[in-house]
């Protein structure tokens, strides 16, 4: 089960690319000004323009790592009726992952360095998000802390549904994922408003 857990966590985390660095570069270079006179919101544009390739990357990674996992440890036993529900949770996890990265990307306006934020975020996702290992193997105090943070709902929660589906856990997971998406997106949108003021003040 551990191998299949890692299949899904890797698929989710590696599907999105370097959103923090991408957004950070556009913020620092001022290229973001090109998007301000368009009839769409920059962050929603960023999400919709990257979600296609994200889903493609996710599917490809899942397929290839799934084949390798099958060869190594045999196929996973999964009820086909649960697959759409698991995919919904994966999509919400990917959205939450994007939302957190977008927030940090905008934060580069103040930090002025997106690579640093990207490095730190990656490590938080690896450890507190459960990408490297299921949070259950860690000490209880640490697992409890991660369960009140959003990182585990981007990666660990969907992966646990994948290896051990349970309808109650599914409902709980998607509700908490939606909650964290709302919170992190709101923070991103608020920060973006501050960003707009800075762009205007600098004569954009």
């Amino acid at each position: 089960m551990m191998i299949w857990y890692l299949v899904l966590t890797e698929s989710i985390v590696t599907s999105q690319g370097k959103i923090i660095i991408e957004i950070g570069k556009e913020v620092i270079n001022g290229d973001i000004a090109n998007y301000l006179n368009k009839p769409y919101h920059y962050l929603f544009y960023k999400y919709s323009s990257t979600i296609g390739s994200t889903i493609a990357n996710f599917s490809l990674t899942l397929l290839i790592t799934g084949l390798v996992a099958t060869l190594l440890v045999g196929p996973i036993t999964i009820n086909p009726l649960n697959i759409p529900l698991i995919l919904i949770s994966c999509l919400l996890g990917i959205t939450l992952h994007f939302s957190m990265m977008a927030t940090l990307g905008i934060f580069t306006l103040w930090i002025e360095d997106s690579r640093s934020l990207d490095f730190l975020y990656q490590k938080l996702i690896f450890v507190a998000g459960g990408m490297l290992a299921p949070l259950d193997i860690f000490p209880t105090w640490f697992a409890n802390i991660t369960l009140i943070l959003p990182f585990s709902y981007a990666v660990y929660a969907p992966a646990m549904l994948f290896v051990n589906f349970n309808i109650e856990r599914f409902v709980e997971t998607i509700l908490i994922q939606i909650f964290w998406i709302i919170i992190t997106s709101s923070i991103a949108l608020i920060l973006f408003k501050f960003l707009l003021r800075r762009v205007s003040i600098n004569g954009g």
Binding site: D113, R115, K123, L124, V127, I137, F138
Partner: protein, 267 residues
């Protein structure tokens, strides 16, 4: 003839020193970014060893390796990576230099092309890794093991550079291959900072011979724990051979190099 070789070595050593100071001054011009990146890298490495601490809390031994052994692994991994990034900052950019025709600049100058290309850039983030590694070394390694530690750090540094050169030299044959080169290099780095005891059989043999990632940090840890002259000789011989192989691969590939006719400013 010997004088010529010595004067060549002296002149290239001066080049490395000059680039180190120029790059260092450039880095210090952007103090805020430099400090932030150093702190970030330090925290990055701290989070890694925190993860391993959590892991070892649950599983105290990995094939007789303890958490202390893992920390020693990170001493050599981070210090070697840090030094290689500070002095040979272009080690992971070789494929970009080749595919974008930027080697032209180095080919027109009367210095060793590979050495010049490697040392002309400094990776700022590397300082955070170096600082982290040295901090761990000061805490963990007794002073009497300093000579052996320094030797192992030099070996780790050169092996990191050699891996970078080999991965980057793929661009001579594949063209635009930055992604593949970076992935291959990152795989090597990844293997280097995992306890080699998790591998056994043929995998372990490969990691200590043909693809000597195990020599970067794993072998130095074994030497510090249980010094063995055979292992030390093995480390020195294989590391030297691997560096020589990387140089040969680069220069063989250089014969296939074609200019990209790109105009760029090198300031």
């Amino acid at each position: 003839m010997e004088d010529n070789i010595f004067s060549q070595i002296k002149s290239h050593a001066s080049l490395i020193k000059a680039y180190f100071f120029i790059n260092g001054k450039t880095v210090l011009e952007y103090k805020k970014a430099f400090i932030l990146q150093t702190i970030t890298m330090f925290l990055n490495d701290l989070i890694w060893i925190f993860f391993w601490w959590l892991f070892f809390t649950r599983f105290p031994l990995i094939n007789e390796w303890t958490y202390y052994d893992l920390l020693l692994l990170w001493v050599f991994g981070t210090t070697g990576f840090g030094l290689s990034g500070l002095i040979f900052g272009n080690k992971s950019q070789i494929s970009e230099l080749i595919s974008e025709g930027k080697l032209d600049y180095y080919l027109t100058l009367p210095k060793n092309v590979l050495l010049h290309a490697l040392t002309s850039r400094m990776n700022w983030f590397a300082f955070g890794d170096l600082l982290f590694g040295l901090t761990l070394a000061v805490i963990l390694i007794p002073i009497e093991k300093l000579p052996l530690t320094l030797l192992c750090i030099i070996s780790s540094t050169l092996l990191f550079v050699a891996f970078g050169v080999i991965a980057g030299s793929l661009a001579f044959y594949l063209g635009k291959s930055e992604r593949i080169s970076k992935n291959i290099y990152n795989i090597a780095v990844g293997f280097a900072i995992y306890p080699p005891n998790v591998y056994d059989g043929i995998t372990k043999i490969i990691l200590f011979t043909i693809i000597p990632v195990g020599l970067i940090a794993g072998m130095p840890v074994e030497l510090l724990k249980n010094f063995n002259l055979t292992n030390l000789i093995w480390l020195i011989v294989i590391s030297t051979l691997f560096v020589i192989i990387s140089i040969i691969i680069f220069y063989k590939g250089l014969k296939k190099y074609e200019s990209g006719n790109q105009i760029y400013v090198n300031a």
